[in-house]
């Protein structure tokens, strides 16, 4: 409970002013308890950053996994996957922005834990694409699929990072639609 308050408070502050400009006192206050109590839950300020990153990843992953459960994978499934993922990235754009911009402030030993989660997300789409190709009996090498998956993940993040540019030209729906078309055209031409 306290932990969640703290993480929520921290995220909202990090969104506003970034990790470095946020003080532990502010986080304590935003969390609704004293600085002393804050330090019952963490050892150093960096711990908060880790908890925040970890929590955001978990939230993103949980939402994606809830949205994507597929057996038979068609074009439609892929579109649904993209749509769901981009929607999540839109909902959590502040959180995602925070996370990626502060990753480098994570203590060296915590980084791998977080990066592992990033790869898990890539793996979700890798799996989706693999099933699609299997169903269509298209033979595509793993590296290619892996790269497609990376691209998809990055395109989701990009919607958050580059909103200053993209929002002016596209709604989320349009963005999703275009990206889907570009993707599907690419992978469908693979089979020929």
């Amino acid at each position: 409970m306290r932990r969640e308050q703290m993480i929520k408070g921290a995220i909202s502050l990090f969104k506003e002013k970034g990790y470095h400009r946020t003080t532990t006192r502010e986080i304590a206050k935003a969390s609704g308890f004293s600085i002393g109590t804050l330090y019952e839950y963490i050892r150093t300020k960096e711990d908060i950053l880790y908890l925040v990153c970890d929590q955001i990843y978990d939230e993103v992953q949980e939402k994606i996994k809830k949205a994507l459960h597929f057996r038979h994978v068609t074009k439609e499934t892929i579109k649904e996957g993209l749509t769901a993922y981009f929607k999540i990235m839109d909902d959590l754009q502040d959180e995602v922005l925070v996370m990626y911009q502060e990753l480098k402030s994570l203590p060296r030993e915590m980084l791998p834990v977080v990066l592992k989660k990033e790869l898990e997300m890539v793996a979700i789409f890798e799996d989706l694409l693999k099933r699609y190709f299997d169903q269509n009996q298209t033979n595509v090498c793993d590296e290619q699929i892996h790269l497609y998956a990376h691209n998809i993940i990055v395109q989701g993040q990009m919607w958050g990072f580059r909103r200053w540019a993209l929002r002016k030209q596209y709604t989320l729906e349009q963005y999703t639609e275009w990206q889907f078309q570009q993707l599907i055209r690419g992978i469908d031409s693979l089979g020929k």
Copy 2:
């Protein structure tokens, strides 16, 4: 001259430890002059960040523009463009990393100046693609082209940001080759 020393010094320090962990003293020292003199050239520490971002953008753009000068645009030209751009992003990956991770630390009023430069880079590839479609007499709507250009730019940055994952699986050449194939397959199927 002094300015360049300062920017160079700052970049090298930012690469190593990030903007926030770098002190003005260190920047002065790395620049080869005193802290007092440093403050002849800037008003606040943030100014240095701005100068650094600005300079990196200029360097990237300059190199790209030097690499890409085309009249008649073929598949080959596009591949050359991608290759050159990715190469530049590989060469300057530390710089690029620094820049994007510290953008949010820029004072609000300086951000637009920098973002404008980002859009100029998008425009370069937008132009390239437009010419390609014109030459092939394919009719593609501007929004689609714009998005393709964004994707290309982001894929270049991605090579820097996600090197921890991508480097394990691809060389720069392979990465370029795959991305090119995915791109060209997508845009070529547009014409049909």
Copy 3:
């Protein structure tokens, strides 16, 4: 019972890290009860220091008194006295070290109580020497005896304080032997 646990716990912690570096939480834990309960027995952290000093003095005194019970005092008795005292100071050297180094942290009003006990210890040896001189019908002024007694006490403490130097050169037995010889030669020449 609780009190003793607390004092024992505190002493062992003070030995290890000194009074100031030991936290009340640690003392509570080492004592086997909660911080809340700890504060049932004390008002401030300083109280613990007082209890500790007091307890150490009592222990030292008790042991000395148990070791020294004399009617007829000869050279031999004095040697036994020295030996016993030095042995005790050797056994309790950590405790004694703690006590003397933290004395100045005692609240002003508690100091006299503790210093009184120090004087009681001096008095023990004063008494011993007095009896010796009485038995030998040597006339020695009280101040001189008092000073001899102080010197003895300090030589015992010195074995603890200066162990970093003395241990390298002497065993406890050698140290005792030499000090005894120096003492006895001094006081014996008094009679002439």
Copy 4:
């Protein structure tokens, strides 16, 4: 200059309230400059303690060495030596008190440096006694002399540490006189 101000300020504060209860801010203020400037001269608070201990030792040693320069050593010389040393310890009693009570707070790596100086002081009196015995053609083993020297040093410190007791009974002159008599009686009886 600054350094000396700082050390002087620190000593006076340590005398008053001990090392742990003195804040760096107070030291800065007492030194007549700001906390920022203080940290130009030291890296951590412990450094101040080291500088203080070092400085006190140097001062004590310098004074002793200035007072004791002997060729031909007689009883008189020894008395002069004792008198000078005890006088110095009386003058610097606060400093000496500070030093010994805070030694344990010194970082592990600095302790040996300071202890070495303590041994140098012992060596001074060791030398004095050796010369005395040489001159009198008395054969005394080194360990015995070493211990005598230690005793002398400790008796000097004792005058500072136990002033609460000794001052009530002795003036410095009386204390010196008694201690000298006890010493000389002891060592003179060695020759027989």
